[in-house]
């Protein structure tokens, strides 16, 4: 028995040592290797709404890193990770819509298929399994963490960087399905999510702590879909708008803006024609509020050159 246990232990220790070494190397790369994609001053975060609606090519100095179905608690940690590395960012556009404050997002780190998607995209965010108030499927997280971090060294870990994508298609007529997905659970109306609101506030605070201007953006939605948004969600949304507005946060609510049917991909997403128009409008607004030469890095360099160069706490 002793010999058997010693052999097993040696086998395990060698394996664990190999995995730990890979984990450390990958963690080092995550901290030090610059992000390839990011180069703009404006960072767009959110879910499929912003992913489909805001074309960074039209906006100018911008990067759209929105990912499908992304809840605020994921956005918060992702944004923190990105702001630590993207010195040039001075404006963050955050999706703000009725469905983003729905409790439909609260179990996305526990239930498939979202769980696998998010852990695959965001395994490098070590805080993710400790999100406040959100149940987490730790076994799924561990599996993906081992797969992506412990088996071999990899220079690139930027799966979290989403990008703008769209198509010139129209699939209207799914209003009820989409509204049910956002606002109903087993036929009953969902509540608004305390977790979502908590992390939305944290996103705003984070931006301010980092000298970054937060802008809450509501992308256009089809009128038939808007009719199906429960009044309680509308009320909560308006109350939050007032709260943020009072706190001086920029709000661009185009949820009810007049867009033709042919500009929608489906009930709550613009297609490429709609995105073109919406991006142009947004680009105009951005030009009005962001002076050309004052990026965050520039400002910091002017104020305290030494501090700007010093490494910041993650």
């Amino acid at each position: 028995m002793r010999r058997f246990l010693i052999k097993c232990a040696v086998f395990m220790i060698l394996g664990l040592f190999y995995m730990l070494a890979n984990y450390s190397i990958n963690r080092y790369f995550i901290q030090t290797v610059p992000l390839i994609e990011n180069h703009g001053r404006v960072l767009i975060v959110g879910d499929s709404h912003t992913k489909r609606a805001l074309d960074p090519e039209i906006l100018g100095s911008a990067d759209n890193v929105s990912q499908l179905a992304e809840p605020y608690y994921v956005t918060y940690y992702k944004l923190r990770h990105l702001l630590d590395r993207a010195e040039n960012v001075d404006t963050v556009m955050v999706l703000f819509s009725y469905h983003s404050i729905s409790s439909a997002h609260d179990h996305k780190l526990r239930d498939e298929p979202w769980r696998s998607q998010f852990f695959n995209q965001y395994y490098m965010l070590s805080e993710l399994p400790t999100v406040t108030g959100v149940p987490v499927g730790y076994d799924g997280y561990l599996k993906i963490l081992i797969r992506r971090m412990c088996l071999y060294p990899s220079l690139r870990h930027d799966d979290l960087l989403g990008k703008y994508s769209n198509a010139d298609e129209m699939h209207l007529g799914n209003h009820e399905i989409v509204a049910a997905r956002h606002f109903l659970a087993d036929g009953k109306q969902r509540e608004s999510s305390k977790v979502a609101v908590y992390y939305l506030r944290k996103i705003i605070s984070l931006c301010r702590e980092r000298d970054v201007r937060p802008i809450l953006v509501t992308t256009p939605m089809h009128k038939d879909y808007l009719k199906l948004v429960p009044p309680s969600f509308v009320a909560k949304f308006e109350a939050l708008k007032e709260e943020f507005s009072a706190a001086g946060v920029e709000l661009w609510d185009d949820g009810h803006a007049e867009y033709a049917d042919r500009e929608f991909y489906d009930a709550d997403h613009l297609n490429s024609s709609g995105a073109l128009r919406f991006s142009r409008i947004t680009a105009e607004r951005l030009r009005e509020i962001i002076p050309e030469s004052e990026s965050r890095a520039d400002k910091r360099a002017q104020l305290a050159p030494a501090a700007a160069l010093a490494p910041r706490q993650p």
């Binding site: 052999k7 097993c8 561990l142 088996l151």
Partner: protein
């Protein structure tokens, strides 16, 4: 608790240490510990299942005691009947009730006299019920036939019925083989435990890497079979053959390997069946514990092959069809069983069903062209039968087969398996072919292979499991 889960990866070493270091001084306590951890393992799915297995165990334990006490034929028959009624009754209720209700109603509708909608039970099928009921049944039948003495040790009996490595998907152990192992002190064997770990590793590789990576392709092709040409459908059937073999034999390997860690020897369940030269050999190598169960408790009592030709034909059909029905309450499983009976019958009638009892190409690296052809034909027949096994319904199966046997059989593939899947299937075939004379594909202890090479191989398999393990899926045979 799934074998391919993190929970089991934690459960197994903890149980191993407690078993050998804490409760190893007293056999009864060690057995009691096995009962406790087995019930914990089984209850992890649903604690309600525990009542059923406990009841089944109590009934068969008491039936065994009763059979041991009396020689009166009538009483003995009554006791055996009690065991059969309880065990088969559970199966009928949980597994077959809805099937019979719907089929009965459909039959009336077919004859133009529709009944009201049948009453259906909305109950969960307890995992592994078909496996442990057959195990307890065999205990009662063996005592009735005086092949086995009843045990008075209730703890050992409960441990035999619920032994966690083989509880939910076999191998279906006979009391004559497994129960005596609970009645004597187990000693730790380094060689057996080491080989057990290797068998677990190979089983995990087959299940997590090969079967789980084939599963999405198989599901896609079978679910949307009407969109695909014959060549793609054939690919789907081939991948399902690989999937079900790796899934089930992988489970059996893990079960047997786990049992060996605890000093138990379970019966072999698979012996490289796809290297069979005829269907009879295939059935001696596929799900051996079930095939031999039906042989011993159904086929032979009916007269086996020592009776008139038509009775032999009848016996073969009954055994194969019942075996198919054991797998699930669906006409597809009955058709699968019947089709295998049709494949088997010519061999039996020509008395050629036992000509391949050795290993193919024994002591040779390559098979002869004749052996290759025989294996190809046998594999093709099993492929045909697997279509029924995997299909949702008979029309689905027939439509799928019609799709295969069409001109589109020679069209380009519409679903291309990834290099990973092709590579994995190739690795499986090569490794299992090279090791076909062994008990399992990682049995090395008679080979003079250097430890660094062996360990490198094990690390490679572990790497593959962690890197390419597919989405965690339940073992297919759990549903049976």
């Amino acid at each position: 608790m799934l074998f391919n889960s993190i929970e089991f990866a934690l459960f197994l070493p903890v149980v191993f240490f407690l078993y050998w270091f804490l409760v190893n001084r007293n056999l009864r306590i060690q057995n009691l510990f096995l009962v406790a951890v087995s019930y914990f393992f089984y209850g992890w799915w649903d604690v309600r299942f525990l009542a059923l297995i406990a009841f089944s165990s109590v009934v068969d334990y008491l039936v065994g005691i009763g059979l041991g006490r009396t020689e009166a034929v009538r009483t003995r028959k009554l006791l055996l009947l009690t065991s059969i009624v309880v065990n088969i009754g559970f199966l009928a209720l949980f597994k077959y009730f809805n099937f019979f209700a719907v089929s009965f109603s459909d039959a009336f509708r077919l004859f133009g006299r529709p009944l009201a909608d049948p009453v259906l039970l909305n109950i969960v099928l307890p995992i592994g019920i078909s496996f442990y009921t057959f195990q307890t049944l065999s205990y009662a039948i063996d005592i009735y036939q005086k092949r086995l003495e009843p045990t008075r040790d209730a703890i050992a009996f409960f441990a035999y019925v619920s032994f966690f490595p083989q509880l939910v998907a076999g191998p279906i152990e006979r009391a004559t083989h497994l129960l005596p192992q609970f009645l004597k002190k187990r000693t730790f064997s380094e060689a057996a435990a080491g080989d057990g770990l290797r068998q677990i590793l190979w089983g995990l590789f087959k299940k997590v890497v090969i079967a789980d990576n084939c599963a999405p392709l198989v599901n896609e092709i079978f679910q949307n079979h009407q969109s695909y040409g014959g060549s793609t459908l054939l690919l789907g059937a081939f991948l399902f053959a690989v999937q079900i073999y790796c899934d089930f034999s992988g489970y059996s390997d893990i079960a047997i390997g786990t049992a060996r860690l605890f000093g138990f020897s379970l019966m072999r369940n698979f012996a490289f069946p796809y290297f069979s030269r005829d269907i009879a050999e295939f059935w001696r190598r596929w799900h051996i514990s079930l095939s031999t169960w039906f042989r011993d408790y159904v086929y032979i009592p009916m007269g086996g092959s020592r009776c008139s030709t038509w009775k032999q034909v009848r016996n073969i059909f009954i055994v194969f069809v019942v075996s198919g029905f054991w797998h699930g309450a669906n006409w597809t499983f009955l058709a699968w069983g019947a089709l295998n009976a049709i494949f088997f019958l010519p061999l039996m009638l020509l008395n050629r069903n036992r000509i391949h009892t050795d290993t193919v190409a024994e002591s040779r690296l390559f098979p002869s062209p004749r052996e290759l052809l025989q294996m190809g034909v046998t594999f093709s027949l099993t492929l045909l039968a697997w279509v029924f096994f995997r299909a949702e319904s008979l029309p689905h199966a027939f439509s799928y087969l019609a799709g295969i046997f069409s001109t589109s059989l020679f069209s380009p593939l519409q679903v291309r398996p990834s290099i990973l899947v092709v590579g994995l299937c190739s690795v499986l075939i090569v490794v299992e072919w090279l090791q076909r004379e062994k008990e399992h594909a990682l049995q090395f202890h008679h080979l003079p292979v250097l430890r660094p090479l062996r360990w490198g191989y094990y690390y490679g398999l572990l790497f593959a499991i962690l890197r390419w393990g597919g989405e965690q899926q339940e073992f297919i045979y759990f549903q049976f």
